[in-house]
């Protein structure tokens, strides 16, 4: 029983290895291309390549697009505000990790 469940699942590491086309990004995030254009324009995600037909997105873009989408729906910020929040959140995450390291030093 439960054999099916316990089959070993191999995932796909979704940030470095993966490059997505515009169409794939739209499908995964369930957004129309126009919406992705807007997010690109505001710097939420950065495509690799010049023309939209050549665009590729790093896997991390999925997380950023999703987060931007939630921030817009839940907090009423626009795409530019979401881009700003995402950049600040990245910085905050990095600083918190560093802070944790120094705080641990002091606790010793």
């Amino acid at each position: 029983m439960g054999n099916e469940m316990m089959k070993l699942l191999t995932g796909e590491l979704f940030e470095d290895d993966t490059e997505l086309t515009l169409g794939e990004l739209c499908r995964i995030c369930r957004l129309p291309a126009e919406r992705v254009f807007e997010l690109v324009e505001q710097g939420v995600v950065e495509p690799i390549g010049r023309e939209p037909t050549q665009w590729h997105f790093r896997g991390v873009s999925v997380r950023r697009v999703r987060c931007a989408q939630r921030l817009e729906e839940d907090l009423g910020v626009n795409a530019a505000g979401a881009a700003l929040a995402l950049d600040l959140l990245d910085e905050l995450r990095m600083l918190r990790a560093r802070l944790a390291r120094f705080e641990r030093d002091r606790a010793e």
């Binding site: 469940m5 316990m6 070993l8 699942l9 390291r101």
Partner: protein, 321 residues
Amino acid sequence: MEFKDYYEIMGVSKDATQDEIKRAYRKLARKYHPDVSKEPDAEQRFKEVGEAYEVLKDPEKRAAYDQLGANWQAGQDFQPPPDWDSGFEFTGGSYTGGSAEDFSDFFETLFGRAGYSTRGAYGGAGARREYSMRGQDTHAKILIDLEDAYTGATRTITLKHSEVGADGRPQVKERTLNVRIPKGIRQGQQIRLAGQGGAGIGTSEAGDLYLEVEFKPHPFYHVEGRDVYLDLPVAPWEAALGAKVKIPTPSGSLDLKIPAGSQGGRKLRLKGRGIPGKQPGDFYVVLKIALPPADSDEAKKAYESFSDAFGGFNPRANLGV
């Protein structure tokens, strides 16, 4: 069922204006938004606030809620009076971004489930047609050891999800998955398991499951992005004279040469020994001078002769005093 004081949850008075309620919601939503907040119970609070706002922002629901009476206390056992909502007509206003299936039993009893606006791709109002829809992508967090990122690993994880049962009520179900953690994974990265998300409707495929990886706190390693840090205690003479010491790394212990003349806080970089990958991270050893305790006459004597030998040494020379 517990009574919920929506005014208390929103931190507004019972006679707050709609504008005040909206402002309070925006403020609380920013504070507890799971993407932004560091509060440990952020998600729970965010849902509560969303539910409270769902009721208070809608003048119809708010009026219906208000006529339950002011005598109820939050947490008090609650049964709605049988005809509590008679005379109210709900026009089925839209719901906030929060997902309605997360609302409490209290909410459900008062306002029912029928009015939920579903975000899925249903046919037009009243249209009865076959539809199919790809299953929802689902998300979960998993905790792994830093060592797993160096070697790869398999982990058995148990995920809880809610499913609407045959009786139409949501039930919590568990399932167990056996997942391979790829080598080189970093904090915050996602593993996509295709087809392991929510079931599709009709002929459509299931959604994907995204696992976000978090490292368990480690007693002596610390991770920043791809780089890994180790605080390495060294004796004063090891720092001053140089030494070869054994150090742990997540990929096994190795010998490290401490250069003579090192000070506390000196960072030694072991290139490429951080988290592996196409661009591997670095491993940093940060020296901490550990002083042997002066707990015997011999030890005290040693410190005294140390002091005599460095009579001219002023560790506070650049403090200007």
